[in-house]
Subunit: 151 residues, 2 copies
Amino acid sequence: MVQKISFEEARERLMKRNLKATPQRVVIYEALVNMNNHPTAEMIYEHIHSNNPSISLATVYKTLDTFVDSKLADKVLSDHGVTRYDGYTDTHNHLYCTNTEELIDYEDEELVKMLEQYFESKRISNFKIHDIRLQVLGEKIDVRQQVELSK
Amino acid sequence: MVQKISFEEARERLMKRNLKATPQRVVIYEALVNMNNHPTAEMIYEHIHSNNPSISLATVYKTLDTFVDSKLADKVLSDHGVTRYDGYTDTHNHLYCTNTEELIDYEDEELVKMLEQYFESKRISNFKIHDIRLQVLGEKIDVRQQVELSK
DNA sequence: GTTAGTGCAAACGTTTTGCACGCTA
DNA sequence: TAGCGTGCAAAACGTTTGCACTAAC
């Protein structure tokens, strides 16, 4: 599960990956993790802008690229032509709500293992697997709708 | 498996979906299906341009949108900021080669069923599933490389 | 001090738009 | 012939770039 992190914790994680802990990076990483909604670069920029008016959007983009290279973040489902980032890099999958464009972490070790085992047993010829990504597309049903449906 | 289609077959499929069978649409649809490499709009435009110089790129985009709406095509993995289209709409998954950017159809009924059953049994609360998409990221290993590796 | 990171503005590539015209059913 | 589809050029959008400046180690 994702936990909110402090400025200090963000700083430490950057240094652990041998990244210079510039204030910009720390702020951007902290935002990415704490927003916890798979934000776009623009969303992160907006989020930090009032407290950090001098951090440019270009820096947000460059920094997110750096994080992806350093395995501090992943790019995730980019339907709609916008790249979204995930600061939670443990192997997991996503539910994507086609109504709200919400991306919901779907953590299920059983599923991850099932897929790994499946492809191990299949031994696809001529293809070396690096990563298995699964997205479940659908729609979030809120409680009121559920009550409505069960009538 | 994907089979090459004729102009006539393309025409018929459009009409079956209640789409006006304009020459542009027929040509674009025929190209999408017969190219069979999950092309971008631009790739389709290039492919048809010499024989159909008057069909504009904007029309290719609009037409592909129409196909997606009418379930004649799917948008698929759009890493790298370019949308790719798939004219083969039967449920299947993809292998994505991170070296060549090739998208390879991975047809495996067993896998599709396994996933369907898995999520049926899980009954994720508050979420109505429309579609389960799986991409396997990795790299194609060509025969020479394989020989190299097995030495 | 050296190297890597930042901010700016301009450029880029992809996709969408508005509108006049053309063609399909 | 009514209404949808098309072509064009321009605009919009997300993202990247080059470069001079700055700051972290």
